[in-house]
């Protein structure tokens, strides 16, 4: 019985991830017009709740399992991004359709490089991060500037350079 309990404890992060994925998919299919991001958040919290309910008896194990679950949740979030909208996936989908291949210009047009940029710009404008006045863009909220600076710091620490376009 003790072995079984220890085995369940060992698999708690994986159980949490399974709950996360299941709830995310169910909420996506059953709640009309819900965004993908909202379903990811819902799934993550249900998965986390399942971890807390199974593993609350040992605080050290709970901490370790929670850390593992957060990392697994991040993996699933990134996987959904890769499946849904990652630029690499969009390109592969377009290349898969044409056996004879595509030139760089054709890929740009088919993947909507211009659209990609204007969609992101529109999102920044509608969410009030930036504003457009007299044909010039200005910053309104500083939140994304802080995010960008944190990301740059992490890039410097981990990758060793500020941007992929810096040699």
């Amino acid at each position: 019985m003790n072995y079984l309990n220890d085995l369940v404890q060992a698999l708690v992060p994986v159980i949490g991830l399974a709950v996360n994925v299941l709830i995310q998919l169910i909420s996506l299919k059953s709640i009309p017009k819900i965004s993908l991001l909202k379903t990811i958040v819902i799934g993550f919290f249900f998965g986390f709740a399942s971890i807390l309910s199974i593993g609350w008896n040992n605080p050290y194990v709970l901490i370790a399992n929670s850390i593992a679950y957060i990392f697994l949740g991040y993996c699933y979030f990134s996987f959904l991004g890769l499946v849904d909208y990652a630029r690499r996936t969009v390109m592969l989908r377009q290349l898969e359709k044409v056996e004879t291949g595509l030139s760089l210009e054709e890929i740009s047009v088919r993947c909507g490089a211009g659209e990609m940029a204007s969609l992101r710009l529109k999102r920044l404008l509608t969410k009030g991060h930036i504003t457009l006045q007299d044909n010039r863009y200005y910053m309104r909220k500083q939140t994304l500037v802080i995010v960008a600076k944190v990301v740059t710091l992490m890039k410097l620490l981990v990758v060793g350079k500020k941007s992929e376009f810096v040699k």
């Binding site: 220890d6 060992a10 992101r120 200005y138």
Partner: protein
């Protein structure tokens, strides 16, 4: 023991990886990261297993250590891949921020988001990862890329919003 040999081991390997990267960054970074992280896990499991004679409770403990460590290692490798790439939205934000109170001219921002920034680097990644090949002046999907897209499309069917 579980916390030390999972979270602690992850932190040790993280520092080893940062050290190696400071000396010389490998060409195939993800592959090397996988090798460092899972090579260390394998060595740790063998060491702890031999030390405690691979009996029942130890096996479950080793499984628990592996689950936590693997989750962290995979999460970090995914995070690292995201760090390698610039986010177009954050590039736009910083370009506007850098201009301060005078703002950034509309046309200049459009010039920042060209195919050289949005398309070409990701295409080069696909070629490096042997997902795409360049022949006869055309980019073509390689068998590895075709297999990946088949897997991704299977899951896309589940999350597709009509």
């Amino acid at each position: 023991m579980i916390l030390t040999f999972s979270v602690g081991a992850f932190l040790v390997v993280f520092l080893i990886h940062i050290g190696i990267w400071r000396i010389k960054k490998p060409l195939r970074q993800t592959r090397v990261l996988l090798f460092i992280f899972f090579g260390f896990l394998f060595a740790e499991i063998v060491f702890l297993g031999i030390k405690d004679h691979f009996n029942g409770p130890v096996l479950i403990e080793l499984l628990h250590i592996s689950v936590i460590y693997t989750s962290m290692a995979l999460g970090y490798i995914v995070f690292y891949s995201a760090m390698e790439v610039d986010s177009p939205s954050l590039r736009m934000v910083m370009a506007i921020h850098d201009e301060g109170s005078q703002g950034l001219e509309r046309g200049l921002l459009d010039n920042l988001m060209t195919e050289d920034v949005l398309v070409k680097p990701r295409l080069m990644d696909l070629i490096r990862d042997e997902m795409v090949v360049f022949s006869d002046s055309k980019y073509k999907i390689a068998p590895k890329g075709r297999s990946l897209i088949k897997i991704l499309n299977l899951y896309y069917g589940l999350i597709e919003r009509k």
